[in-house]
């Protein structure tokens, strides 16, 4: 069994980690540095199977694993691609207690929880189960061999033990240095450490020479340690020749997870709770091997006036590398204590506690779905180019936008408008509710009739529009924009609750499909579909069309004779296919959103969100007619009364281009100029074949108190005109 280290196969023994295998073969994963074998230091990092920054001490060796050393004089390369990598799965686990760490105290905590009849789970690093963070919930996220584990527990026990303090002296970057525990593990694995000198607490069960005095430096040759130098109390130096140096400099609790779990039901047990040993303030050496920060750097930054733990970290970058302060934190604290006479806390503990890839952390995530109407398959079969709009997939066009346009203007066409927000509101207080919500006089809408309405917020700004349709004295059908449906539901429910009104609210957006039948031959098509008595303009009836029970609303957004057929969503396909079939001789073809945007623009109908902004008052939109200020109350009334007194600054106006070639349309969102000054923004623009000119809606700022009559767009002249541009008398829609 072999692993490959920088193209060289090396054998490993069962149970070896990659690091132990390398050391067994006389290889070192990095240039050097004291190895801890506990996952705390950055001195065994390498690229394993294409993933860099892997602690080789934490990975069990498997045949064929490929290890590459990080470059000595720089950082690893970014991978070219990772698409070949298998997807990582995430599993949720719910329990009473999760114990992180399965050493002595962790096993005890797990046994105690189980004895108390609790459902408990233990995470064991030795089995490759690494807790990467504790989040609100509490939620413990762990990386395991089988994928990501999201553990939702009532209580978290941190039993992560303590890390060994690393040496910071000249020469601590040499190879051949180990912590006591590391040396014990290697000896147990059968490695021969050669002539061993121990500093501080000696390792158990290893024959070694004990160096007396304080550690002063390590000496080496060819990057490997050759001697330990200590200093006696009298100041004299002692030299201990060795092949391996082992340090026992004290313990520092692995408390990052506990600190991360501050204010959550998290407790620590065992060594993770111990008081931190504080090493003596070092005189020389590298305190942060990740970022290459020396004691001299700390001295300098202190003199520069950086004296808070966080400022020292940010200015030297100590603690910002792979081990996230594992090596340097004890030394930073002892340095700042020596300098400033106060013991400063370690910097904030932040996830992730153990490292994982973006692919791993992303496990279990999904994209927000884009909703599809019941007719989605029909559109795609007809070759539609689909577009995301308002949270839905909608047909943008079916390949020929102008053919669709002319079908509406001259023959008949259908469009899937199932995405419209649809709601039934009923109950004794329904009229009261709607009168308060809407700026129109709802009481004047008669049974079987509909009206176009704006929705205002408390600041008097328009946030949606739609129709109010009166079904009976105690029931109304409301419609909203496609993108505004869910917000509108919250809005209506919230106010009904706030006012304590007796109403029932039923959102129908997903339950009802809707198909708009539009064009001068719409009546003819409906007659062929079995409907001889269609409703009058702005009326609505229930009837069967092409065998499908529908509520038929006569209204018009395209400017042509139009009927909106609301029907059970299960029968959308039947109705759609039926209409297309029956309309063949009439020249029917479906139209998409792109065509609709042109048709409604010719009529000057606004699209909330495209032609409006967050500060669009009815006055700015030139929709004063939709607001009945002689009503006693509606949401936004007070704000409208107030803002109406402020001089008007801008208005949504109709514009047409002067003397431009057919087909030209300026950029929507482009800038409008007036005599070299900024004058506004184009919100909608299209060339109108029916009118033979280019028409626009746009925000125009008043210049010297007046709306300019002539402006410049894309270096061309545009003239302000009244809307609608097309069929000003609305004779076609009312036909």
């Amino acid at each position: 069994m072999r692993v490959i280290v920088d193209q060289k196969p090396i054998p490993f023994a069962p149970g070896d980690s990659l690091l132990v295998a390398m050391l067994r073969a006389g290889e070192h994963p990095t240039e050097g540095g004291c190895l801890c074998l506990g996952g705390d230091c950055p001195n065994c990092l390498a690229t394993v199977d294409g993933i860099s920054y892997v602690r080789t001490c934490q990975v069990a060796a498997k045949p064929g694993m490929v290890v590459e050393r990080h470059p000595a004089d720089g950082y690893p390369l970014l991978p070219d691609d990772s698409r070949h990598r298998a997807e990582v799965h995430a599993h949720n686990h719910h329990c009473d207690v999760v114990v992180i760490g399965q050493g002595e105290s962790g096993r005890a905590a797990l046994a105690e929880a189980e004895a108390a009849g609790k459902q408990a789970i233990g995470l064991d690093v030795a089995n490759g189960q690494e807790a990467i963070g504790i989040y609100s919930g509490p939620l413990v996220v762990a990386r395991t061999a089988a994928g990501m584990l999201h553990i939702h527990a009532a209580e978290v026990v941190v039993a992560t033990g303590a890390a060994e303090i690393q040496p910071v002296v000249p020469g601590s970057e040499l190879a051949g240095l180990f912590t006591s525990r590391a040396a014990e593990q290697l000896t147990a694995a059968g490695l021969d450490l050669g002539r061993v000198v121990a500093v501080g607490t000696p390792p158990a069960g290893i024959e070694c020479e004990l160096a007396s005095g304080d550690l002063l430096r390590f000496e080496g040759e060819g990057g490997r340690v050759t001697a330990v130098i200590t200093q006696s109390a009298d100041g004299s130096e002692n030299r201990y020749p060795c092949q391996t140096a082992v340090v026992g400099l004290g313990l520092y609790p692995r408390d990052a997870l506990t600190r991360m779990g501050h204010q959550l039901p998290v407790r620590a047990v065992g060594d993770a709770t111990r008081e931190a040993d504080l090493p003596t303030c070092p005189g020389e050496g590298i305190i942060c091997p990740c970022s290459g920060v020396s004691v001299a750097d700390l001295e300098r930054i202190w003199e520069q006036g950086f004296q808070e733990m966080e400022l020292v970290k940010r200015a030297t970058l100590a603690g910002t590398g792979t081990c996230q302060g594992g090596v340097c934190t004890p030394y930073l604290r002892s340095f700042l204590l020596a300098k400033g006479k106060t013991l400063q806390p370690a910097f904030t503990a932040r996830p992730v506690n153990r490292q994982l890839t973006l692919g791993e952390i992303a496990a279990g995530a999904h994209h927000h779905p884009t909703a599809r109407t019941a007719l989605d398959g029909e559109h795609r079969r007809l070759g539609a180019k689909m577009e995301r709009s308002g949270g839905w997939w909608r047909p943008w066009n079916y390949g020929d936008v102008w053919a669709e346009y002319w079908a509406v203007r001259e023959a008949v066409s259908i469009m899937d408008v199932s995405t419209l927000g649809k709601m039934i509101v009923s109950g004794p207080d329904v009229l009261e509710l709607l009168e308060r919500l809407y700026p129109t006089k709802v009481s004047t809408i008669k049974n079987g009739r509909s009206r176009y309405v704006l929705l205002l917020d408390e600041r008097g700004y328009v946030f949606d529009d739609g129709m109010i349709c009166k079904d009976s004295d105690t029931q109304y059908t409301l419609t909203f924009t496609s993108g505004g449906s869910s917000h509108a539901e919250m809005w209506v429910r919230d106010w009904a609750e706030s006012w304590g009104l007796d109403v029932r609210i039923l959102l129908q957006t997903q339950r009802l499909g809707a198909i708009n039948v539009t064009g001068p031959l719409a009546n003819e098509l409906l007659a062929r579909a079995g409907l001889d008595n269609p409703p009058p303009y702005l009326g609505h009836i229930e009837a069967t069309v092409a065998g499908v029970p529908c509520r038929i609303f006569r209204l018009s957004f395209t400017g042509e004779l139009s009927y909106e057929l609301h029907h059970p969503v299960e029968q959308s396909v039947t109705l759609w296919r039926g209409l297309l079939e029956l309309g063949q001789e009439l020249g029917i073809r479906p139209h998409g959103l792109e065509t609709l945007l042109k048709l409604r623009l010719e009529k000057g109908h606004i699209i909330v969100g495209q032609d409006t902004d967050m500060d669009s008052t009815p006055r700015r939109l030139h929709h004063e007619w939709a607001i009945k200020l002689d009503k006693e109350f509606f949401i936004g009334r007070q704000a409208v009364l107030r803002t109406n007194k402020i001089p008007l600054d801008k208005q949504l106006v109709g514009l047409e281009m002067v003397g431009q070639p057919a087909g030209y349309a300026p950029l929507e969102g482009g800038v409008i100029w007036h005599q070299g000054n900024y004058a506004g923004i184009v919100t909608s623009a299209t060339y109108s074949p029916a009118l033979g000119k280019t028409v626009l809606l746009g925000w125009l700022y008043l210049q010297n108190g007046e709306l300019p009559t002539e402006v410049e767009i894309e270096g061309k002249t545009a003239r302000r005109v009244e809307v609608p541009f097309y069929d000003k008398e609305a004779s076609r829609a009312r036909a």
Partner: protein, 402 residues
């Protein structure tokens, strides 16, 4: 040794005085910049900056360091372009290395309507002085060959706007260069000094109460991030601000080969590579208002997922650290700068997700206001009074947060 250690900046920490001409509350980028420009442009140095923790410890030291001017309304494009230009010369002016790097920022669109919006953004940017171009997918690949134009088969990239002068700078170093520049001209900066109240005489602010005693001042300027509504309430002002957490994360260090800043207008994440080689990623603000700095798993999981959808090479990078800051969101997604209805109390707030890029311009303009008593033309549209006057600076699409 690493070449990124701070070696030039020297701080001085004098004892507080009982009185200053100007007290600035908040020792983040905006407060330090105002002090810096007061000292360097107007010779006003009897100034104290009060910081409750350590300088640059709030959002000025937690942001994702992006400088861009691709805003959506003329007033904002002008302001942020000016700020971007001040950043371009800040190193030369202060003699300090702020690691300013011009990178360009790409905002990708994923639909016809989205493409139209990016074309419009480029147009309005160019009209008011910012260098933004519209790019086709082929041109996008030239800027960032790592992008999967199919968007994982889910979010195809159909175009994008590219603000060529967009840059990054090291946030800490910006704060320090401004702090030192102010200090060396006599400005006092007091850390670990929390403002607990405002001293008022009638409708005029006359100083601040701190946890270390009262300090009187001719003018008090709030450059507070996070708890700004609490501070303003001390002056009897209600601010239209809601504070939301905003999170970010970095990977380990890799050789620097990823040049631009890349963002998606639908997936709402952004990615850049730092001068030290970490891949730095963020996304939209958390939906619920909070002052909480706790990081959460959903953000990390979701942001990583979205970023790897368009940049699949990120999948194998190892995450190093995540953190959280807070954003003061205004109703119209634009900042609030200038005088208030309380005499002697000036304010710069509402910095949402766009505060770092504005530091020099906000500092310069607020300093001019303090020095002259007249609101500079550039920031006049951003006055607090706009909300009462129905003059919103509506710029939602530019925040990169929704």
């Amino acid at each position: 040794m690493n070449e990124f250690q701070e070696k030039l900046v020297h701080f001085t920490w004098p004892e507080p005085k009982k009185s200053y001409d100007v007290v600035i509350v908040g020792g983040g980028g905006h407060g330090l910049a105002a002090a810096y420009y007061l000292a360097t442009r107007h010779g006003i140095t009897n100034v104290a900056v009060l910081e409750r923790n350590y300088i640059g410890g709030g959002n000025s030291g937690r942001n994702t360091t992006i400088i861009r001017a691709n805003y959506g309304i003329p007033e904002a494009v002008r302001f942020y372009q000016h700020s971007l230009e001040l950043y371009q010369t800040l190193e030369a002016e202060t003699g300090r290395w702020i690691m300013h790097q011009e990178k360009g920022i790409l905002w990708m669109a994923h639909s016809e309507i989205g493409m139209q919006q990016q074309k419009a953004r480029a147009a309005i940017n160019r009209a008011f002085g910012a260098k933004t171009e519209f790019l086709t997918p082929e041109e996008i690949l030239k800027v960032c060959p790592e992008i999967d134009l199919t968007g994982g088969g889910v979010w195809p990239v159909v175009g994008g706007s590219y603000n060529t002068e967009a840059a990054t700078a090291r946030h800490d170093r910006v704060n320090w260069a401004l702090a030192e520049g102010a200090m060396m001209r006599g400005v006092h900066v007091h850390q670990k000094t929390a403002v607990t109240g405002l001293l008022m005489e009638g409708n005029r602010v006359t100083g601040v109460q701190t946890d270390k005693g009262p300090i009187s001042a001719g003018i008090v300027m709030s450059a507070v991030g996070g708890h700004v509504t609490s501070l303003a309430a001390m002056a009897g002002l209600r601010l239209p601000i809601r504070t939301h957490p905003l999170q970010a994360f970095v990977t380990n260090h890799y050789a620097r080969t990823f040049h631009p800043i890349v963002a998606s207008t639908n997936l709402l994440f952004y990615v850049s590579q730092t001068a030290r080689g970490e891949m730095l990623m963020g996304a939209e603000i958390d939906p619920q208002p909070s002052y909480n700095y706790r990081s959460d798993h959903h953000f990390l999981q979701s942001c990583a997922f979205r970023a790897t959808t368009l940049l699949p090479f990120l999948r194998d990078l190892r995450v190093l650290r995540q953190w959280t800051g807070v954003c003061d969101m205004s109703p119209d997604y634009s900042p609030i700068m200038g005088k208030t209805s309380v005499d002697g109390f000036y304010i710069t707030t509402g910095w949402g997700t766009w505060g770092f890029k504005a530091i020099p311009a906000s500092g310069e303009q607020m300093a001019q206001l303090i020095a002259t008593g007249e609101t500079p033309e550039m920031i006049a549209p951003f006055a607090l009074s706009r909300f009462a006057e129905d003059r919103l600076m509506a710029d939602r699409g530019s925040a990169g947060t929704h």
